[in-house]
C-alpha cells in the first residue's frame, strides 16, 4: 500500500505543483475557480481517454506516437506560458501599481492569464493519464490485495494535492508588489523545464540527437527520485542526468522568454511613467 502511495504521489506531484502555481498566478481572474475546476476536469477526462487509447497512440508515427504526443502537449504548454509571461511583463507594472486605472488592459490580462488555466488542463492530462494507467493496472491485477493498494493510490493523490495546495497558499502570502514578479519567475522556470522534457521525448523518438548523454551526472548527491530531487524537477526542471540537447532547449527557452520579458518590461515601465505624468 505504501509503495502504491509513493508511486501515485510521484506521478501526481508535478501536476499538483503546476496547478498550485498557476492557480496563484490567476488569483484575480474572475470566475477563476470555475475555470480551474473546468481545466482540471477536462484534464482528468482527457487523461482517462489517453489512458484508454495508450496502445493506439503508441502505434502512431511508427511506434513513436506517445513521445510525439507528449512533446506536442509540452510544447503547447511552453508557448502558452511564454505568452503569459510576455504579456504580464508588458502590462504587469501597471497592473501591480493601480489595478483599476487600466480597465481594458486588465480585461486582456485576464484573458492572457486564463490561458494558464488551459495549461492546467494540459498538465493534468499528461500526468494524470499515467496515474490512471497505474491504478487501472492495480485494479485489473489478479488476486486480492487490490483494495489496500487502491487506498494507497488515494493516499498518494491526497498527498500530491496537499503539496500543491501548500505551494498555492504560500504564494498567496507574497505581498502584491512582488506577487506578479514571483509568479512570472516560477512560470518562466516551469516553461524551461517543460521545454527540456519535450526535448527528452523528441530524443527518445529519435527526432533529435541527444548531444552528450548525460551532460552531467548529479544523481550521486541529488537523485531525481529523492523528495528534493523530484520537487526541483517539477519546479525548475532539475534532472540528475540530462542530455545536452535538453539543456540547449532549457537555456534557449529561459533566455528567450527572460529577454523578451525584460525588453517589454522596460517599454511598459516608461509608458506607465509617462502615463502618470500626463
Amino acid at each position: 500500500m505504501f509503495a502504491t502511495a509513493v508511486i501515485v504521489f510521484r506521478e501526481i506531484l508535478e501536476a499538483a505543483l503546476i496547478v498550485g502555481i498557476l492557480a496563484a498566478a490567476t488569483r484575480d481572474v474572475p470566475g477563476r475557480n470555475r475555470w480551474l475546476g473546468a481545466g482540471i476536469l477536462a484534464g482528468l477526462s482527457g487523461a482517462g481517454i489517453v489512458a484508454l487509447c495508450t496502445g493506439r497512440i503508441a502505434e502512431l508515427a511508427s511506434g513513436m506516437g506517445q513521445e510525439l504526443f507528449n512533446a506536442a502537449i509540452l510544447g503547447l504548454a511552453v508557448v502558452m506560458l511564454a505568452w503569459h509571461n510576455l504579456w504580464m511583463s508588458s502590462h504587469g507594472a501597471a497592473l501591480a501599481k493601480d489595478a483599476r486605472s487600466v480597465g481594458n488592459a486588465i480585461r486582456d490580462g485576464r484573458r492572457a492569464r486564463s490561458v494558464l488555466l488551459i495549461v492546467v488542463g494540459l498538465a493534468v492530462l499528461r500526468e494524470g493519464s499515467e496515474t490512471v494507467l497505474f491504478l487501472y493496472g492495480i485494479a485489473a491485477s489478479e488476486g486480492g490485495g487490490s483494495l489496500p493498494m487502491l487506498a494507497g493510490g488515494l493516499a498518494g493523490i491526497a498527498g500530491g494535492v496537499a503539496v500543491g495546495w501548500l505551494l498555492y497558499a504560500g504564494l498567496l502570502r507574497i505581498p502584491l508588489r512582488w506577487f506578479f514578479t514571483a509568479t512570472s519567475i516560477l512560470v518562466l522556470f516551469l516553461a524551461a523545464g517543460m521545454a527540456s522534457q519535450a526535448a527528452r521525448f523528441l530524443i527518445q523518438a529519435d527526432v533529435l540527437p541527444s548531444l552528450a548523454t548525460p551532460l552531467w551526472d548529479s544523481s550521486g548527491w541529488l537523485p531525481q527520485t529523492s523528495v528534493a530531487g523530484s520537487l526541483l524537477h517539477s519546479l525548475i526542471g532539475y534532472e540528475a542526468q540530462p542530455s545536452g540537447m535538453q539543456i540547449v532547449f532549457y537555456v534557449l527557452v529561459l533566455v528567450v522568454i527572460a529577454t523578451g520579458m525584460k525588453w517589454l518590461n522596460k517599454g511598459s515601465a516608461s509608458a506607465s511613467r509617462s502615463g502618470t505624468a500626463a
Binding site: G55, M64, A72, F134, A195, Q204, D206, V207, V253
Partner: protein, 108 residues
C-alpha cells in the same frame, strides 16, 4: 524553440524510413518481470530496444540513467531508442511494478 516543433515532427515523419540500420535488442515483460533482466549492448551506438509486454496490464519503462520513460500498454510492443552510450551499467525499472520489474543494460 517550441515553434520549431511542427517542423521537427514533419522531419521525423519524413525520416522514419531511414531507421532500420540501428542495432536491435528485444526484451519481454511477463508476470511483471523483464526477460532477459540484463542485456549487453555496444557503446557509442544508437540502440533500438523492442519491448514486448505480454502482461494484460500496462507497464512504464523508466530509467533515469538512460533518461527514458515510456508507457507500454498491456499485450503490446513498444520501441525505445537509446544511446549512443558510454560504457557502464544503466539500470531500468517497470515503474508500475518496481518490486519485481528490474533490469540493467550493460554497455561495453
Amino acid at each position: 524553440m517550441s515553434r520549431l516543433l511542427p517542423l521537427a515532427l514533419l522531419l521525423f515523419v519524413a525520416s522514419t524510413g531511414a531507421l532500420a540500420a540501428d542495432d536491435e535488442f528485444k526484451l519481454v515483460i511477463e508476470s511483471h518481470k523483464f526477460d532477459p533482466a540484463e542485456i549487453t549492448v555496444p557503446a557509442g551506438k544508437k540502440i533500438k530496444l523492442i519491448i514486448e509486454n505480454r502482461d494484460a496490464t500496462p507497464e512504464e519503462f523508466e530509467s533515469h540513467a538512460l533518461n527514458r520513460e515510456k508507457v507500454i500498454a498491456g499485450k503490446s510492443t513498444a520501441t525505445i531508442f537509446i544511446g549512443p552510450l558510454k560504457p557502464g551499467r544503466y539500470p531500468f525499472v517497470g515503474e508500475y511494478n518496481e518490486a519485481t520489474a528490474k533490469g540493467t543494460i550493460v554497455v561495453n
